[in-house]
Symmetry: C2
Subunit: 209 residues, 2 copies
Amino acid sequence: MNYKTVIVDDHPIVISGIAGLLSDLENIVIVEKFESGVALLEYIEDHKVDLILMDIFLPVINGVDLCKTIKQKYPKMVIIGMSSQSERSLVMQFIQNGGNGYVLKNASFDEFKDCIYKAIEGEIVFSEEVKTIISQPLSEELERIPSLSRRERDIALLLSQGKSTQEIADDLFLSFLTVQTHRRNILQKYKMKNVAELIAFLLKNNLLN
Amino acid sequence: MNYKTVIVDDHPIVISGIAGLLSDLENIVIVEKFESGVALLEYIEDHKVDLILMDIFLPVINGVDLCKTIKQKYPKMVIIGMSSQSERSLVMQFIQNGGNGYVLKNASFDEFKDCIYKAIEGEIVFSEEVKTIISQPLSEELERIPSLSRRERDIALLLSQGKSTQEIADDLFLSFLTVQTHRRNILQKYKMKNVAELIAFLLKNNLLN
DNA sequence: CATTTTTTACCTGATATCAGGTAAAAAAAA
DNA sequence: TTTTTTTTACCTGATATCAGGTAAAAAATG
């Protein structure tokens, strides 16, 4: 069986590079190449496509939203995201929006090949470097981030649920003033301007919950 | 080569069940079973372990934190998370904290086997049901959540960066009062009490960025 | 056992948020 | 082109947050 494959990337050079790599693969047939997500969306309306390799950084529609849109209509389409550099949260977002895998553009031919075949078989795949990116904030990044004390985490959690200082005090049987002190300590600890920034920071760094 | 394997679960029945499944697998040798994370942490201090199968819902230390702690010291250890039911954010959190895979306990014997072998080979693996959970907020959940307008998203993004109403107004060349109106509209749209709850909601539902 | 960290608590004042209302351009969708 | 949504803007008052300072138990760590 042949997998009808489409490449989306706003750099023509990259398109031809990937096309070259894929041309050697059995069962993979490149049926079309696009430089924008809009053009892709139009194409899949009336053409059968099995596999999409897409750049994440695209003009107008970004890769994550593009993937989400496509998957809502065509859940069975296999979509692999690509980018040159990458950060953890972006990869996770792509997968949460239906992506079947994520590959860095500097991945070796074998990695590309492996990822594509495994994705077609239903796996969720990552190239080697992506795997390390996903699970490595542990070593460098996270070590210099101070952690919340138990009480601080309790309070931060209630803050993320929209509770006011008074409500938190009531919930935890504390004085209003105590909760106020904790709030300030947490903000100072991470050098945050207000709770909004704090909650965003804590969630992105998995310090909450 | 034999993979020294440890099972952690607070239900003895589950431990024996998994042990039974794994006993048939080649190369997998169960060297120890634990009912708590603390006991596991002590054990790995002075015993070689290659693979850990752990329940996510554990008393005292939860599976996510346990995984994180272990991976900081022993990055090469392969850790697979398990649970009976699961939700998307939990799985993602586990992987972001170094987990090599996530399997639902109702997975078939073949799924378990596949996942374990692939994880040992360096893949990040999910059982079938987990895969659908990861990428399915698209169908039901997300459809009834209203989306932000462009301006609202701009403002929400700046809010998540800790900016005040005045700062946002300056950034976007708008009146203070206009930004105030947008803020209120966003809060009303999602029925949120304040920006803290709003930011948490938007981030969890990938509506920001 | 001594030291450090955490948790508790109070006071004050400036500034910001939130909730209520209204309304008119501008842009997008039907 | 009409209708709807979005974006812009103003007013007021009650309440909440944030930043500054201080300090003493309690718990955890070395």
